[in-house]
Structures are given as C-alpha cells and as structure tokens.
Amino acid sequence: MAKLELSGVKKSYGSTDVLKGIDLTVEDGEFVAFVGPSGCGKSTLLRLICGLDEISEGTMAIDGHIVNDVPPSKRGIAMVFQSYALYPHMSVADNMGYALRLAGTPNGEIRQRVQAAARILRLDAYLDRKPRQLSGGQRQRVAIGRAIVREPKVFLFDEPLSNLDAALRVDMRIEIARMKERLGTTMVYVTHDQVEAMTLADKIVVLNAGKVEQIGSPLELYNKPGNRFVAGFIGSPKMNFLKLGKGCGNGSYAVAGGSVTLPVFAHAPVEIGIRPEHLTLAERGKNTLSGVVAMTEHLGSDTYAYVALNGAEETVVARIPGEKTFRPRQEVGVEVDASVIHAFAADGTAITSSGNARVAA
C-alpha cells in the first residue's frame, strides 16, 4: 500500500543543518525504527515525513509520488505524538473520530470505526470520558486509536512509550506488536529504547548528528555493525572498546591487560570491540587479559562485572551468569571469545576478515 522513499533529504533551521542528506526507503508494510542519541534529528525526520515541517532540500515520495508540497492531512499519514496531543475538551470517542468528522464522514460510519478501534485497544469502556480522566497508558492508547481510526497508509510514532512506567511500557510494546501484525501497515517508530527497537522493528535506522550511520535488521546491526558508532550504540550494556597498541608481528597487538592476536586485515585496525557477553571472567592464565574487578551489578539473571584492565583508564564490562559473585578488587583474568571480535579502522569503520583472533596474556 505505501512505500516511503526519501532521497537526499536535508533540513536546516536558519544556518544550522539538522539533517544532512538522508537516503532511506521504507518498504510497504515494513516496521522501521529510528534510533540515535538525543538531538540527532529523529523527531525532525519524522516531522518532515508527516509534513509538519518543510523539507529544505531533497525529495520525499509516497508510492512513487513526490509529496514535498502535499499538506500533512493529505498524505495519508497518521502520527502518534510523544505527548499524546489529545484534545482536552473532547471525549475519547470525539478525539478518535475528529479527523473523520473533519473529512465529512457520515456519523454512523464514524461511530463504527471508532468502536472498532476501541475494541482493538480495549478502550470500549472509556469512550465517553475526557482525556484528563484517563491514566497515562489509556491516553496513549487513545492517541494510537486516533491514528488507527483514520486508516492511514503510514503510521508514525515519536517515542510513544517514553512517558509510561516500565511495566506499562512492556504492555504497550506488546500491544503495538499485535497491532503491527493485525494491521500490516507501514510504520515508522522513533525510540530511545533499544529493546523497543530490537523487538518491534523489521529494520533499524541508526542516526547520528543528522546522518544515517547504518540501516539494517536488528540482528544485522547487532552482529555486524558498520562502524564504531553503531557498534557502541546498539546493545546494552555497551560494547567494550580496546585500543590497539604496538603490533608485535604475527598479527599480535598489545592491549590493556595483555595482548591479542588478530587475523590479517585489509587496513590496519586501531581498535577492537567486544560485546559484554563475549567476555568471561576466569583465573588469570595464559590466554586471558588481566585486571581487577571494579564493581558488579546483579540483575538476577545476569551479572555485569566491571573490570579495570591493567593499564587502562576505562573499565570493560562482562556479562556473566547471575549466580557468580566477585569481591571488589579481586584479581581476575578476562577471557575473550575471539571468534566474535569487531575491528575498527582509524576512521571508525568496521573492518572484516575471514580469520579468527586470538588472545594472549
């Protein structure tokens, strides 16, 4: 039904460039998540897509038609605002049916569509209430219901769950996943929450400082980050980065706490990255990096152990089974699963190689 194509989209406010050339295709029925640090331009991009702000340069097309000059209401797009943006003086039913009413839809049909949406979102019992008489989660559902009722070609969500508490957030996440299955509509979703992005999205777009860093499926981004930024941004706790010291021949490099042996790369790597779950704590030995435990966090199922490697300023974090405990300042060896090391060149791009890395103390 709806395919979004953005090419060379730029946005500037006065002399500040907020978006610096975005190329992006959202396939019909796809669920795409925008992630990125605060201020990177996620909301701005969403507002350009729905037409609330004007594109400074470049084009945006829906199903092949360029819509740069089409007003928001004519694009067939519905937006769910982070603040919900419900009309405070209208009942839930009126809030949901307002767009249809403006479009001159007959009353009977409005009622029917509002009730259908209310059933999906379990809002039937609240249709006569005013927004201020609802809880945060209910308001959020009304905001989503308002979008559903319009039967748009594309749904946009700007951090829809960020005002909810943790438990409700999980509920609503499942709700949105169900809605995605049920409606099969193209959806674009902005979030700060990694879990939301990883679990909901077919495709994640990582933005940084107004540019696309990488586009890919959640696992692609996790397993094969294209650069250091994506590697550090996707995944929690963050990926550990180790600066490579002098090479000692045979692909062996000094790192904090010992040395690693890397396969041959096309370019010389300057840094390697290791995910926390690929580190294990063990007795000090020949194939471990040595350090001391700085702190542990027990999350029940997992334990995060922060280890200060000898000679390093920052700690590395290892994700280990929950029952393990360590004393602070206990001396440990850090074992690296060498098959899953990420290597980065000086400009931050990831370098791939066929061979495996080896670690030595």
Partner: protein, 322 residues
C-alpha cells in the same frame, strides 16, 4: 479542594500560617494547631487593619451617608428616601441604560479586538517586541491623559480625526464628535476600546502561548483548516480565560470614570452620563452627597454580582484543571 495536596496560599484566610506538611501530619493536631492558627492571625493583622481602615470604614461611611439628606454641612437621617428617589427618577434609569450600553459594547470590542490582536501578535515574527510594546501603550498611558489627547484629536475644527476623515471623504463636513449626543457616546466608546483592549490582549496572548503546540499539529494532521483549528483548539483551550477576562474587564469598565469625565463630563444632554459620572455630578455639582452615595451603593451591588460570577468562574476553572 483538598488541603493536603495544595499549599495554603496567602489568599486563604482560614488556612493562614498552616502549611501543607503541618496539616497532614497528625502530630500538629491539638494545642499546637491552635497556636499556629493564632500566630497566623498575628501575621495577618497589619493587612487586616489596613483593609478595615481603607475599605471597610469608608464603605460603612458611604452607606451611612446614603441614608442621610445632606445640605451643606447639615445632614438629617432620612432612611431609604434616597434609594426611593433614585429608583423612581428617570435620571438613574437613563444613566443605568447608558452604563449598560457603554459597558456591553466596550467589553465586547475589548474581547474581540484583544483576541484578534493576540492572535496576530502570537504569529508575528517581524518586530515582535516592538508590536507588543506598541499595542500596550494605550494601557500604560494614564486614562485621563489619554482622554485629553483624544479630545484634541476629535476637536471639530482643528482635530486630526476630522482632518483625515474629511480628507478621504468619509465625512463631508466638520463633525462635532463630542458635541452631538449620538456621536458622543460612540466616541467615548471608541476611546475606551482604545484604552481597554491592550489589557485583554495581554491576558489572551499569555493564554494563547500556553496552548500546547502539538494540539495544533495534531489538528493539522487531522485535516483541520485554520478556522477549524481556531474553533476546536484555540477557543476550547481559551474558554475559561475568556470568561474570566471578560468578567474582570466588565467589572473594570462599568466603574470606569476618567475617560468620560474628561471628554464629555456626561454630556451632551446626559448622553454619556454613565453611573460613575452620575455619582460624581450628583455629589459635586448638585452637592447631594446622600443621593450620590446611594447610587454608589447600588453600583457596588451590581459590581458585587459580577464579582461573585468572577470568583465562581475562577473556582470552576481551577476545578477543571485538577
């Protein structure tokens, strides 16, 4: 209103000196509470004394005067004679009628023009501050001084208004704006619109700026035109402020004196003699303080009615926000 969730404000005499925390903690019940309350009244005393001296006493005195017949320095108690007189005299009813017309028309236009200007100013990008200050000027100038300026502007022979209007052919001869009964009321009304609009504009501008931007954006996404956004977002959000500011403005305008006193003194042929001017003329040109006080008390009653309405609107608005 629950005391536990709202801090006591200075305006709530019964809560004076008793903070939120002390109310909700049971430790403070008993003698401690009574002491706190007593201390509260000590703090209130100076303000209370001033209020009594400056408002209650003169008011009581005015009421007392309204029950007297005063001639020169002599005064005799005559009961409600003054009230009987004014309610049976055409002068009072004429004046009341003029007051109602004057107030209704003025308030209507204060609101209308004020809202229009506020909407414009909210959008203004160019020279925003300049416009805001510029539109506030009539409100900053003392009303009597503004009125004097307007008397010059409206002067039949040399006034700027006649010069300009006849220049573009709108009036064919020199109009005596303040000398013709039908024109005089319209003239003072226009001047009062000039005076009273900025305040309303300022209130409404503040209200407009408080409306969340995303409601407009949601409405734009829903396909609302500019008019529909005004009708379904701006007006409902402003409703309570519109009620409050129009009532406030009404209370202010019905007792407004300066402009008419300076411009026409109530004339010509009493065409602009609103109640406050009637009171003044009765007291100081007819030297009838008793009757003037009686009219004053009646006007006070009218204002009190609107004040009650105002307070109710305030409370209603607060209840809705909670």
């Amino acid at each position: 209103m629950s005391v536990a969730t709202r801090p006591a404000t200075a305006g709530q005499a019964d809560d004076v000196g008793i903070g939120v925390a002390s109310r909700s903690r049971s430790v403070w019940r008993g003698p401690g509470l009574r002491r706190e309350r007593r201390h509260g009244y000590y703090f209130l005393a100076p303000a209370l004394l001033l209020t009594v001296a400056l408002i209650a006493l003169p008011l009581a005195r005015a009421f007392w005067t309204s029950l007297q017949r005063t001639r020169g320095l002599r005064s005799d108690f005559t009961g409600l004679d003054n009230y009987l007189y004014i309610f049976t005299s055409t002068q009072f009813w004429d004046s009341l009628r003029i007051s109602v017309i004057f107030t209704a028309v003025c308030v209507f236009f204060h609101m209308l023009v004020g809202l229009g200007l506020a909407l414009l100013l909210k959008r203004a990008v160019f020279a925003r501050t300049l416009f805001r200050v510029g539109f506030l000027a009539p409100w900053i100038v003392a009303p009597s001084i503004g009125a004097i300026i307007w008397v010059w502007l409206l002067e039949p022979q040399f006034g700027v208004v006649n010069y300009m209007l006849s220049g573009i052919g709108l009036v064919d001869r020199y109009q005596a704006w303040l000398g013709t009964p039908s024109l005089a009321l319209a003239s003072v009304i226009i001047v009062d619109i000039w005076r009273g609009t900025p305040f309303v504009m300022l209130l409404l501008l503040a209200g407009l700026q408080g409306i969340p931007k995303d409601q407009y954006e949601a409405a734009a996404m829903d396909g609302a035109t500019a008019w529909q956004q005004f009708r379904f977002v701006t007006l409902p959000n402003l409703r309570y402020l519109l009620i409050v500011s129009s009532t406030l403005d009404l209370i202010y305008t019905i007792r407004h004196f300066d402009i008419i006193a300076v411009m026409t003194g109530g004339g010509p042929i009493d065409a602009t003699e609103v109640l406050p001017v009637l009171i003044y003329n009765t007291a100081f040109t007819q030297n009838n303080f008793g009757r003037a006080s009686a009219i004053g008390i009646v006007l006070l009653g009218i204002i009190l009615l609107f004040s009650i309405f105002y307070l109710r609107a305030m409370r209603l608005g607060k209840a809705r926000e909670d």
